[in-house]
């Protein structure tokens, strides 16, 4: 068992990395306004803030991916300029970015050694046997179980995270920066990650840890820097480091809590699913979705929920099973067919599956729902004025932080991008809306708004299916929760049974039977 780093009374003299008064603007947007950050050797340092607060930008600057406009960065007291990712690793830093970076067609071992100096034979060829011997202890320590010659693309997200960590360890980095590492990890994978982080810290490696999950932050970090609107507004440690303190620093005021309105009456069945299967990830799924209800789909990452959503949505074809929508047969062959039948989807990977990053907010909001934009009912032309007006309304309704309706959506922060994807379905009002991890990577303020929005949609008679890997999220939000494990729906929870612990218990039900500890 690794010890939790003790809360140090007086920090040692020289921080490993210290950034001071860093500013950075992208075109018109001011991402950082004189932010500061210092990470001590061997500490686990948290970095938190609302969406768009500038966390990723600060990290990208440390990584040499972008250059700040002004500011100073020092490593062990010596000022440095970090011109490239190469320079950053030369300074003893290793990064695990928000968007996972690995080469899908290369093997696990090749990905671990990516960009690192490699042992060669006398002929100048890479000596993979020697390298494998060298990294074996690290692989053991990190807990990679996949064969080293498997292609990285055949691995799960969690295993690819482990690859990144292994790379950092091989490089003997003094600081490992992790940008929202747990966003796509299961609870057990999270626990494993935490113990690795503690081990690193104990062996003198500093970790800079970015997350929206405050429980993790409180659990792991000795000190926490809070960013708000590009400024570092607080550094909390010791007794000052509390959930309440963090929330106040992040939001800059008090947060109201969502109280669930239980008055929505559940209507007739809209979508009915029977025996849906697509091996290997979905074994059997049967359920009914009612008008006006928010149905949660809980479980561990990899339980097959996203796959199930894709089946409902016609993005994949099932092996067996049947569906009806509003009593009529429903067998979508494409997402277009599903949309016509009255479905909508907010996909899990918003940047790659949800958005056209180069196009404007208005364009993205109107995508897939162009009928309201038609200038006249007879001609096929659309009205750009209508598009802008509708976009403006949606931006207002969802309080999306965008400079204008014409701003490219790729320049919004993660949370605001997510709101744009949801906003798309706000106008077309599908019968059934599926949201896959709608609040992943979304700050607590925005998360509250998104929850309120979901309830509101249900209140207007929409049937909503919410997939979430955070057990906390579903009990507050949903009328009823189905728990999936290993491709099956294993439990239905509603009413007073619907609690966080019941979801967790059901999620592990199958796993624990099969994998003896």
């Amino acid at each position: 068992m690794n010890p939790v780093p003790t809360l140090m009374a007086a920090p040692p003299a020289v921080p490993f990395v210290a950034a001071s008064a860093v500013s950075k603007s992208y075109g018109g947007a001011q991402a950082l306004r004189g932010a500061s950050l210092s990470v001590l050797p061997g500490e686990v340092h948290g970095l938190v803030g609302a969406n768009g607060a500038g966390k990723s930008t600060l990290i990208r600057i440390l990584a040499g991916l972008t250059q700040p406009d002004t500011g100073e960065i020092a490593i062990e007291g010596r000022p440095v300029a970090i011109a490239s990712p190469h320079a950053a690793s030369g300074l003893g830093m290793s990064f695990i970015h928000q968007e996972l970076a690995f080469v899908p067609d290369m093997t696990v071992l090749e990905n671990i050694m990516l960009g690192l100096p490699k042992k060669t034979t006398r002929l100048g060829l890479v000596d993979w046997a020697a390298i494998q011997r060298d990294v074996a202890p690290i692989i053991e320590r990190v807990g990679i179980t996949a064969p080293l010659d498997a292609a990285a693309k055949s691995l799960s997200t969690a295993e690819n995270w482990l690859i990144s960590i292994a790379r950092a360890l091989v490089w003997k980095a003094r600081l490992i920066v992790m940008d929202e590492p747990t966003a796509s990890l299961s609870a057990s994978e999270c626990r494993k990650l935490f113990s690795i982080i503690r081990g690193l810290s104990a062996s003198g490696v500093a970790v800079l840890y970015v997350s929206h999950r405050l429980d993790e932050i409180l659990d792991l970090c000795g000190r926490v820097t809070v960013l708000r609107d590009g400024r570092s507004v607080a550094v909390l440690d010791g007794p000052g480091l509390t959930r309440r303190g963090l929330v106040q620093a992040i939001v800059g005021g008090a947060v109201e809590h969502l109280s669930k309105s239980r008055d929505t009456a559940r209507g007739e069945v809209v979508l009915s699913v029977r025996g849906l299967r697509r091996l290997p990830r979905v074994t059997e799924a049967s359920f009914d979705l009612h008008r006006g209800e928010v149905l949660g789909l809980g479980g561990l990452v990899g339980a097959g929920r996203s796959e199930l959503a894709r089946l409902l949505y016609g993005a994949d074809r099932p092996d067996a099973g049947s569906m009806t929508i509003e009593g009529g047969p429903f067998a979508p062959r494409t997402p277009a067919g599903a949309v016509r039948a009255g479905l909508g989807l907010v996909p899990e990977e918003r940047r790659t599956e949800g958005l056209l990053l180069g196009k404007s907010v208005a364009f993205n909001l109107s995508l897939g729902n162009l009928t309201p934009l038609l200038a006249s009912p007879v001609l096929p032309f659309i009205s750009l004025r209508k598009r802008a007006r509708l976009a403006q309304a949606t931006i207002r309704d969802l309080s999306i932080k965008a400079s204008s309706t014409e701003q490219p959506v790729g320049r919004l922060s993660g949370g605001n991008q997510q709101k744009v994807v949801i906003g798309r379905w706000l106008r077309s009002k599908p019968e059934v809306l599926i949201l896959d991890e709608p609040t992943r990577g979304v700050d607590i303020g925005a998360r509250g708004e998104i929850h309120r929005l979901i309830r509101e949609l249900a209140g207007h008679g929409m049937a909503v299916l919410v997939i979430s890997s955070e057990p906390d999220e579903l009990p507050d939000l949903c009328d009823r929760v189905l728990v999936m494990a290993e491709g099956r729906i294993v439990r239905e929870l509603a009413g007073t049974d619907l609690t966080r612990s019941a979801i967790i218990e059901a999620s592990y039900a199958l796993t624990e039977e099969r994998v003896p500890a």
């Binding site: 500011g71 440095v80 949505y313 277009a336 909508g344 790659t352 599956e353 958005l355 056209l356 897939g368």
Partner: protein, 330 residues
């Protein structure tokens, strides 16, 4: 030790200027080129008749480039357009001369055939999932073979009626040469389609991010096929007009349009928008290429300089635009 603190490298006004340059650079370049050539050849270059002549000459390449733009907007390349246009030229004269079909019927058959070739390209790319470079190269090569099979490579010449030639040589509207009219109609139509219709929004979405477009409920395959169909139809129109202009259908008459069209489309992507392909850009791109060729010729520049000019203008225009853009954003 040297000073390593960061200072802002570019002032906001410099950045803004660079941004303007990135967007309007090619247009500025076009205007500068026109000025220089007007200065060098004041009597021959900047005349209305020369402009009409150049535009008339360029119209065919422009039509094919307009079609190609549709293929690249949906994210695919269409290397078959040159070969296809050559084949259409052979077939349309064959239909008129050998099969005695009325001209409008022959032209309509070509347009339908162009659409069909587009469908074939599109289906191979979307359903067989063949990379579009290889698919359209393959289809183009097959088309050359078909052209040989039809004509044994011998141009179809005799008996081409004058009324067919008038398609390209006539001036049916206000004394403007017909090819210019056709070109204007094609560009106007495509511009409206892409920028102002619902289908156009879907076309742009498919080009921007096919995965997201698909999940937003757009039938991506159908839109991609549509891009190829428009490209194929434009190739058919170009091939037909070229046959009318030359008075014959020749197996490789239009092959060389491929490179011109490509260059125009990519030059266009450096114009006005940030590296996106669009119809207006293609228009400006073709103008740069043909006016440059014309101006250099009138000035009497040697052959080699024309190649150098054509190659260099591409790199310089696109390079400066993207450099300006990335500096402005940095």
């Amino acid at each position: 030790m040297s000073d390593v603190s960061y200072t802002r490298r570019l002032s906001p006004s410099t950045r803004a200027a660079l941004g303007v340059f990135a967007r309007y650079g090619t247009i500025i370049g076009l205007l500068a080129m026109i000025l220089v050539f007007s200065f060098l050849s004041p009597h021959a270059f900047p005349t209305f008749s020369n402009f009409i002549n150049v535009l008339n000459q360029a119209s065919l390449a422009m039509i094919i480039a307009g079609g190609l733009t549709m293929a690249v907007i949906v994210g695919e390349l269409d290397l078959s357009v040159g070969y296809a246009a050559s084949l259409h030229g052979v077939l349309v004269t064959g239909l008129i001369v050998a099969n005695h079909l009325p001209i409008p019927v022959a032209v309509l058959i070509e347009l339908a055939l162009g659409a069909l070739i587009g469908v074939v390209n599109g289906v191979i790319v979307t359903k067989l999932k063949v990379n579009s470079v290889i698919a359209t190269l393959g289809v183009g090569t097959v088309l050359v073979g078909l052209s040989f099979a039809y004509s044994a490579g011998v141009p179809i010449v005799s008996g081409v009626p004058e009324s067919f030639l008038q398609l390209a040589l006539g001036r049916w509207l206000f004394g403007i040469p017909n090819p210019i009219i056709f070109m204007a109609l094609v560009f106007g139509g495509l511009w409206l389609l892409v920028e102002r219709t619902a289908i156009g929004q879907e076309i742009q979405a498919v080009g921007g991010n096919p995965a997201a477009a698909r999940l937003a409920g757009i039938n991506v395959d159908r839109i991609k096929i549509l891009g190829f169909v428009l490209s194929g139809m434009c190739a058919a129109l170009t091939g037909t007009l070229l046959a009318a202009r030359l008075g014959s259908g020749t197996t490789n008459a239009a092959d060389s349009y491929l490179l011109t069209a490509f260059a125009a489309v990519f030059l266009g992507s450096a114009t006005l928008r940030d590296g996106e392909f669009h119809i207006l850009g293609t228009l400006i791109g073709t103008l740069i290429i043909v006016l440059g060729f014309n101006g250099l010729n009138i000035f009497g520049a040697p052959t080699f300089s024309q190649f150098v000019f054509q190659g260099a203008i591409l790199i310089v225009a696109v390079g400066l635009a993207s450099l300006g853009r990335s500096l402005a954003e940095s």
